[in-house]
């Protein structure tokens, strides 16, 4: 392509031809549905579904926007179309274009034909741009004999296929190998004082500055407050330890999953691709690693009593020196001490008494990938627009799905959900029409970090209001994920002085969509259906149910026999049918009783 007569005729400047080639490579990697036709595969796609984007997790999204008066296209006649092209010619950069047309681009699908209409044009363009700029940064145009080549990592190419390889893992090899790296950013510090919460600010600041920095921003495909997805060249071009040096210097530990592969084999659904690749007898390049990046740790840390030095109490990874505050002696290393000194988050918390709830919303990226694959397969298999597609083509479309751009769109909606949670929590009214939560009793301790909040618990109503808001927002932004949501809510309720680390441990390991603990008395992980049953049936029942639940709990303690409890529930199934359903779903009587008590108007736990 780079040296073809046709390309040279229409694009005489070889540098621009090189850029066009790189754009084409970037477009191929970014496409959720592979550009199969480029590889001679004639796949029959589905019908044109409609005008706007079809979000897999929110299938009525465009319809709702349309009803609200929004429209995918920024132009409605020839003149406004001409206007857009004039703007493209005159705008200063891509960001300028995104600013003007972004609203429309988020409603426009990258491809209007099913099943390619699942990614917004905004995200597709954004992704193509990032990948293009990374490819360009690490390649150069060179003349060899009479031919022009693009060289990356000593590998010369002059066509898309030569660089990326065939889309079929058993066919032609590609020369350009890049990496997709999914980073979980972790810390070893304990949360023992409120100032230790500054660790989240430090982490969020570093992620944002890394994503804004001119030298690194194009490597970052997307990020949340504890996760980054990077597209970077091979290790001999860029070393992770250097690239993420600022995180490591600040004491963070980065656990990452790295896929190193030819461009056309690179995908964010790493595990699935790896398993499939190894089921074939392919000699092409696709590697998957799990690695950890951390700063250097010494072989030994020697406490020196005479100098008041010992291992750091907080991170237990570095030598700490004795620091005394409020007559409490602590050994803290410089890294942990610096975090303490960053400020006083959640200052109001120190003045609270009674009970507090610690809240965390989490997005599980691994589960998200599985969920997207499931939703996509369902779309291909069952959507009316796909009815005319034969089963072989459907299998091909499913097998070559690359969820990266879809994942990026999902994360954008996730951030909208967090923002909405942050805003709407203060709009919840109590029975008298007053705000249930204020800036004084519902705190988001770290500005901009909306996944994490702390609130004062005056009654069970407060707890239920938080869960309800989460449920309503999940239903609004991700209605197709209610059964199996990668977005999770965790609540840990305890007296204000309860060790913060106990809260955090629970919040950081959510098992189901809604997770609640009251240390020492309740631990509950439930899905949305179970929550609705507990909320609508159990909580609304009268004192009779309360009495019955207490009786069951007594039987459970006395007999230590699940059979005896079950027998009692069966005997009373006509009076309390919902109880039987919940127990059959795996909840214990103790958990049901715990939820009842915890969310009761007068909190009794």
């Amino acid at each position: 392509m780079l040296n073809s007569q046709e390309a040279t005729k229409y694009i005489p400047d070889p540098q621009i031809r090189g850029d066009v080639l790189l754009t084409k490579i970037a477009d191929g990697i970014s496409a959720a549905i592979s550009r199969l036709e480029l590889y001679g595969k004639r796949i029959q796609k589905g019908d044109q579904v409609g005008e706007g984007i079809y979000k897999l997790w929110n299938t009525k999204f465009y319809e709702k926007k349309r009803n609200a008066g929004q429209y995918w296209s920024p132009f409605t006649d020839i003149e406004s179309l001409k206007g857009m092209f004039r703007y493209i010619d005159s705008c200063s950069d891509h960001q300028d274009f995104f600013n003007k047309y972004g609203k429309h681009l988020t409603l426009t699908p990258e491809d209007k034909t099913a099943p390619g209409n699942i990614v917004s044009l905004y995200t597709h363009l954004e992704l193509v741009g990032k990948i293009f700029r990374t490819l360009k940064k690490h390649s150069r145009l060179q003349l060899r004999n009479t031919q022009k080549f693009l060289i990356y990592n000593n590998q010369p190419i002059k066509s898309v296929q030569e660089a990326s390889g065939h889309i079929d893992p058993e066919k032609a090899q590609g020369k350009w190998i890049f990496r997709l790296v999914n980073c979980d950013i972790k810390f070893s510090q304990s949360l023992s004082r409120l100032q230790d919460l500054n660790i989240f600010r430090k982490k969020a600041d570093l992620i944002r500055s890394f994503s804004d920095n001119e030298n690194t921003k194009d490597y970052v495909l997307f990020f949340t407050d504890d996760f980054m997805s990077l597209f970077i060249p091979k290790e001999d071009e860029i070393q992770i330890y250097n690239l993420l040096g600022t995180f490591l210097k600040a004491g963070f530990i980065i656990d990452y999953r790295e896929m190193e592969a030819e461009l056309n084999l690179l995908t964010s659904s790493m595990e699935r691709a790896y398993v499939k690749f190894h089921s074939l007898s392919s000699t092409r390049h696709l590697k998957l690693y799990e690695k950890r990046a951390a700063s250097e740790f010494p072989q030994e840390i020697k406490p020196i009593t005479s100098r008041n030095q010992n291992i750091c109490d907080s991170c237990q990874m570095r030598l700490g020196i004795e620091r005394i505050k409020d007559r409490i002696h602590e050994y803290l290393c410089d890294t942990c001490y610096e975090i303490r000194e960053m400020g006083e988050p959640a200052r109001e918390y120190a003045g609270w008494d009674g009970k507090a709830g610690w809240m965390k919303i989490t997005l599980n990226q691994e589960q998200l990938l599985k969920r997207l694959q499931g939703l996509y397969e369902k779309y291909v298999d069952t959507h009316i627009s796909m009815q005319s597609v034969n089963s072989n083509d459907k299998a091909e479309l499913k097998g070559t799905f690359r969820p990266l751009a879809v994942q990026m769109d999902f994360v954008k909606d996730y951030k909208l959900l967090l923002q909405a949670f942050n805003n709407q929590i203060y709009e919840i009214k109590d029975e008298d029409g007053n705000s249930l939560f204020t800036q004084e009793n519902y705190l988001f301790p770290i500005e901009g970090y909306h996944e994490f909040g702390i609130f004062k618990v005056n009654s069970g109503e407060d707890i239920l209001a938080v869960i309800d808001l989460f449920y309503n927002l999940l239903k609004e932004y991700f209605p197709e994920c209610l059964k199996d949501s990668p977005i999770k809510l965790s609540l840990s309720i305890a007296p204000v002085k309860h060790p913060y680390q106990v809260h955090w441990r629970f919040l950081s390991m959510p098992e189901n969509i809604i997770n609640i603990q009251s240390p020492g008395s309740l631990k509950l992980s439930i899905d949305i259906d179970q929550f609705k049953l507990l909320k609508d049936k159990i909580r609304r029942e009268d004192a009779k149910l309360s009495y019955f639940l207490h009786r069951l709990a007594d039987i459970e303690i006395e007999t230590k026999s699940e059979m005896s409890v079950m027998l009692e529930i069966l005997n009373n199934r006509k009076k309390f049918p919902v109880l039987l359903k919940l127990v059959q779903d795996g909840l214990s009587v103790h958990q049901i009783l715990g939820f009842y008590k915890l969310t009761h108007k007068v909190n009794v736990l």
Binding site: L288, Y289, E290, R292, F297, P298, D313, M317, V502
Partner: protein
Amino acid sequence: MSLLNKTFLHFEIETQAIAIGERIKGGTFRPCLETIPTSTLRGSFKDYFGLTDVLAIGYFRENTYQRDIFTYAQVDTFLGTAKLPISMEYLKPADGTRAVEADIYLVKNKTAESLVIMYPTEISMGALKSKGFGRCKLTYRGEANPNSKLGYLKGCLLEDECKAFGIKRVIMPCYGYLFYPTSEISGVYKRGLFQGSIIEGPEILIGKEYKYDYKNTG
């Protein structure tokens, strides 16, 4: 998976309350580990049986324990006053279970074999022994000749104990520090491999299998 030429002695412990703790945080809270590091077992076998060259590692069995908090105030014997209360986390039997249970594996050698007796014995380990925590019934279960496997380490051990445990290679270390006494009154913190490290070694040390690529770096 390949056969590993290494024999371990498998013991089981049962306890009603145990606190294998980290360092106290913020002067008020001491969290509890969910595994039994080699350093804890070394101290326990030395205290109870006078054995100095026993190498052992342990893990609490899932679903046999739950966490709880015990609050106590240390006494400053010099001033005769109580210090600020400390909340100490400990493990107690999970609801519906009789005792917290753990598996302990000793690297087989002459010293370790002297512990192979057919009746249960009692040892103590962890914090607050004077308050009754950490009393364990130790029962011998038999020899284990594990295969070699690639996967995620379940427990905590010192780096320089890897060879003795039959660990062939460390693919991804997750470092932490364990206390190592150098005399009756002092010691150092040595670097160790903690849970989540990817190793190739005896399957008794490994939880989930690692199925991806790795580079031969160590």
